[in-house]
């Protein structure tokens, strides 16, 4: 039996790989760099949890409803951003603003009823209530979620939809001249990405069983969501997984072994990130492929 610590680490790796993959659909394939995916994440977590606490709705059903709430928010924020032609850093910042608005909204709302965070009533182990004492169950759930989203990305990337997203990412004017409704395809990417991210929010809620507004809607989670995709390789099927493995292990290693003074581990963590971004701007996956290509080229000549 692996220890609960190892299982927890594995769950976190799969969890961030899943979120990175969800972000990757919008940010990697469609090229719309969202800096505010916490909005969908937090919305999913609070939708399922509040429905569960107040109306006794099973978190599984709440998860689906949270996903739909994410779709609505995604379509709303996407409509406003894309209708007004926001791109690149402007889009990123508007998404950040949406997440911050939701954070403040929920903070005001929650601080009255739940000043110490929103606790989910403990039920021990209950499949219907999406609660398990043994972390191993969460491992299998997030594993299935990750496999599903990876399969979806793989399918989409090879389809017309994926080709259209990448065309829009590379050159929106040229894409439109080839008959692509860029506005509609960006909204589609937004809706799928938001849906999947919101499902991740519910998983997080059921895993930690307590919700804190600043954690769920905070900038930090927005950054963590996109980092696995960026570090592993945005716009690739397995990039988010590679990125999540690297980042979670790096974060554990620095946390446990680098303790010269308080905060030093975070500095080392940040330093390694910067080096990766400078030297492997396409991500680790591309960095790992490069030696193979060089070898293949050397062999073929």
């Amino acid at each position: 039996m692996p220890s609960q610590y190892v299982i927890h680490l594995a769950v976190m790796i799969l969890f961030f790989a899943y979120l990175g993959a969800a972000w990757n659909i919008l940010g990697g394939y469609a090229g719309q760099f969202s800096f505010g995916h916490a909005a969908f994440f937090g919305l999913g977590a609070y939708t399922s949890t509040l429905l569960h606490i107040h109306y006794g709705v099973s978190p599984w059903i709440g998860m689906a409803l949270g996903g739909l709430a994410g779709v609505l928010l995604g379509l709303g924020s996407g409509f406003l951003s894309f209708r007004y032609g926001l791109r690149g850093p402007y889009f990123a910042l508007v998404m950040l603003a949406f997440a911050e608005m939701l954070r403040l909204l929920f903070e005001t709302w929650m601080s009255r009823s739940y000043p110490l965070g929103l606790p989910i009533p403990l039920k021990g182990t209950s499949l219907l209530d999406f609660q398990f004492r043994d972390k191993g169950h969460y491992f299998y759930i997030i594993l299935v979620m990750l496999i599903a989203v990876t399969w979806l990305c793989h399918r989409l990337a090879r389809s017309r939809v994926g080709a259209y997203w990448m065309a829009i990412r590379d050159n929106e004017e040229a894409a439109q001249a080839l008959g692509i409704d860029a506005f509609a395809y960006k909204l589609l990417a937004m809706a799928i990405s938001a849906f999947l991210t919101a499902l991740g929010g519910t998983f997080y809620a059921q895993y930690f069983l307590t919700l804190e507004v600043n954690e769920l809607f905070g900038v930090q989670i927005s950054v963590e969501i996109l980092l696995s995709a960026i570090i592993g390789g945005a716009g690739t099927v397995f990039g988010p997984l590679v990125g999540a493995v690297a980042l979670q292990l790096l974060s554990e290693v620095t946390r446990v072994y680098v303790r010269a003074f308080s905060g030093f581990d975070l500095m080392v963590y940040g330093g390694v990130l910067i080096l990766v971004i400078i030297f492997l701007p396409q991500g680790l996956l591309e960095g790992m492929r490069r030696p193979y290509r060089a070898m293949a080229r050397a062999l073929s000549t």
Binding site: A163, M166, D170, G179
Partner: protein, 241 residues
């Protein structure tokens, strides 16, 4: 009725009248050349036809349907393809994938779309570069890619914006030959060109723009003898034999 008709079309940018009360028609099955000095409004005409800009005045109709207010992607779906004067490749996609994006307009299946893209690449002579990325291509190949991608959408009317500019003489001849082959396959062409001899030999009819207005229109022979055209534009560069 002509395939494409512009009537009284004007468009200004700030104080600049880029296109002024312009009327012309492109009959189906013809090759029409659009020439004029730099800044005379040629590219703007393409941007008006392809829905990038709205005209301030005038009407544009394609196969009987008004183009006004339609988005660029809708205009492509009506059957108008275009290239960009400054090539706009999808730089992270291979040559084949670039062309496949165009083929996806009429073919939903990825493998069949790739098959179609391969056929177009053979036509334009880029098959040997199908796995290359656009930044590694020569200028001539980038222009071919630009053309192939538009052609893969299966347009009835293809707008070519200076696809021969910057090419060497041999490459220019190849591009001319290619344009003729595309035309022979049933595509109507509206061609902006700076290489005078090329466009004169290619086009059935020529339209000369000057300061956004139509200066002359007619067969290449008529236009090249027109004294106004010679004075305004052709004088230094082109002398009829």
């Amino acid at each position: 009725m002509a395939l494409l008709e512009l009537a009284g079309v004007s468009r200004s940018f700030g104080g600049v009248r880029a296109v002024n009360a312009l009327s012309f028609a492109v009959p189906e099955g013809e090759i029409v050349g659009l020439i004029g000095p730099n800044g005379s409004g040629k590219t703007t005409v393409f941007n008006l036809i392809s829905g990038v800009f709205l005209p301030n005045q005038g009407t544009l109709t394609f196969a009987g349907a008004s183009l006004i207010g339609r988005k660029p992607h809708e205009i492509c779906r009506l059957g108008i393809g275009r290239t960009f004067q400054i090539v706009q490749p999808f730089n992270s996609l291979t040559v084949l994938e670039n062309v496949r994006v165009g083929a996806f307009r009429t073919i939903g299946d990825p493998d069949r779309a790739a098959h179609e893209a391969d056929a177009v690449l053979r036509l334009v002579g880029l098959s040997h570069k199908r796995e290359a990325l656009p930044p590694s291509l020569t200028i001539a190949d980038r222009k071919r890619l630009e053309l192939a991608r538009a052609l893969a959408t299966r347009p009835r009317l293809l707008l070519l914006d200076e696809v021969m500019a910057g090419l060497r003489p041999a490459e220019t001849l190849e591009m001319l030959e290619l344009a003729r082959r595309i035309h022979a396959s049933g595509v109507t062409l509206l061609v902006i060109e700076h290489v005078m001899r090329a466009v004169m030999s290619l086009s059935h009819r020529i339209l000369v723009l000057h300061h956004g207005e139509k200066l002359a229109e007619g067969t290449p022979q008529e236009v090249s003898r027109d004294p106004e055209v010679i004075r305004a534009y052709l004088g230094e560069e082109y002398r009829p034999a």
